[in-house]
Amino acid sequence: MNAILGTSLSKSFQHYQVLKEVSISVQAGECYALFGPNGAGKTTLLRIFATLHRPSSGSFEIMGMDGKRDRVKVRDVIYLIGHGSYLYDDLSVKENIQFAIGIRGWNPTEAEIKKALDQVGIGRFARLRSRYLSAGMKKRLSIAKALLIRPKVLFLDEGYASLDERGVGMMNECIRSFTQAGSAVLMTTHDRGPTADVAHRVGVLNRSVLTEISVKDMVTADALF
């Protein structure tokens, strides 16, 4: 089943066309890694699927739902780990989690929150205000939120950015747990090494053209673009 299906997606900002007739599909239980140079439109594509941008033309479906018409329903099954941490500086790590999950209509128990925080290695900072977290810890907190929300489709925008080696390992653990549970993961990245451990398919977006390559080619190629 196609968890993500984009057909002839185009997007322009002012007179600059970022995406031109890009089509992509990601199956349930699959991790798709999207490479490309800066400004290629990777984040824009992700943000279209996350219902943050409306495409200039083309259509997309998330879990069979029309991304434009049913976007409220689409938002129920997706989660985006983007460039922002979506944290409130004056709330503690635990309170930030309670808020982010609670507002979606679910109140996780203390034990569930603790388990998720421990899983990403920041359990001992649960009472610390998030203004004191480093960028890497904030990213880990985003992973913890994703682990609690368990979306059917996870979008990772530069998923490994700011993470140390152990953090990268945790991110990959998280991705694996999602795909094994049948969720789809679409990630943009520049890190070929860790991506090779989790990606099932790889695409290179360059000058508005999406070219699919094998994971092996991604690892061995001198340059992807």
Binding site: L52, G84, L87, Y88, D89, G102, I103, R104
Partner: protein, 225 residues
């Protein structure tokens, strides 16, 4: 029921953040205190004349305090891209508006209640007996101000000239609120019968209802694309 839970979560988050950093509430309070001090040292009037100009002084203080407090209401959502998180949530965006509105209303009422004794002290006014009537007028007028202020804060938060745009949008539309509030306050301070100024309170209630409903409806479009 989830709709009301969203309102509660948003208001909880705003109140807790404000309780911890006290940025907004302290700037509102000290600005209002300044206004009271300046007016109290500018006029040395007898008690009858002071009752005539007092409603104006009270609502100048409350009005400008509202501009300071409400204008910053959505800044907390811009930091760390929290606004983006709201956009991707599968919840009615109007509930986010009502949560922010409720938080703002509580901030402003807190500041106003703290300021009342200062008006009594600096202007040697006997307002203690009329406190409940004044609280009613303040609440009804502040509901309208918060409704508009929350909406315009969301509208202007992403633009560079927000400090200029916010009062330009808020003040003209707040005129009926200020007129109603000043007239009703004058009635209370003159110890008029309630029936003589109740129509001003009714007018404020009508504007409250209009402003809350229209803002609630418009907010959906501000946050969604």
């Amino acid at each position: 029921m989830h709709f009301f839970r969203v309102i509660r979560w948003i208001a909880w988050k705003d109140l807790l953040s404000e309780y911890r950093n006290r940025e907004n509430i302290s700037s509102m309070f000290f600005f209002a205190l300044n206004v009271i001090l300046i007016f109290s040292f500018s006029f040395s009037l007898d008690s009858e004349t002071i009752k005539e100009i007092m409603p104006g002084i009270i609502w100048v203080a409350f009005g400008f305090t509202a501009i300071i407090g409400l204008g910053k209401s959505f800044l907390i959502e811009v930091n760390n891209d929290c606004m983006e998180y709201f956009q991707t949530l599968p919840i009615p965006k109007g509930a986010i508006y009502l949560g922010k509105f409720l938080g703002n209303l509580l901030f402003m009422l807190t500041v106003e209640i703290v300021l009342f004794p200062l008006f009594v002290l600096f202007f040697n006014l006997d307002m203690i007996d009329q406190f409940l009537q004044l609280l009613l007028i303040s609440t009804v007028a502040t509901i309208g101000l918060s409704a508009l202020g929350t909406l315009f804060s969301a509208l202007t938060v992403q633009i560079r000239a927000r400090e200029v745009m916010f009062p330009i949008l808020l003040l003209p539309l707040s005129v009926p609120i200020f007129i109603g509030a000043v007239e009703a306050t004058r009635g209370v301070l003159n110890a008029d019968a309630f029936s003589l100024y109740s129509h001003w309170i009714e007018l404020l209630v009508v504007f409250d209802v209009i402003f809350v409903i229209v803002s609630f409806w418009i907010f959906e479009f501000i946050l969604d694309y």
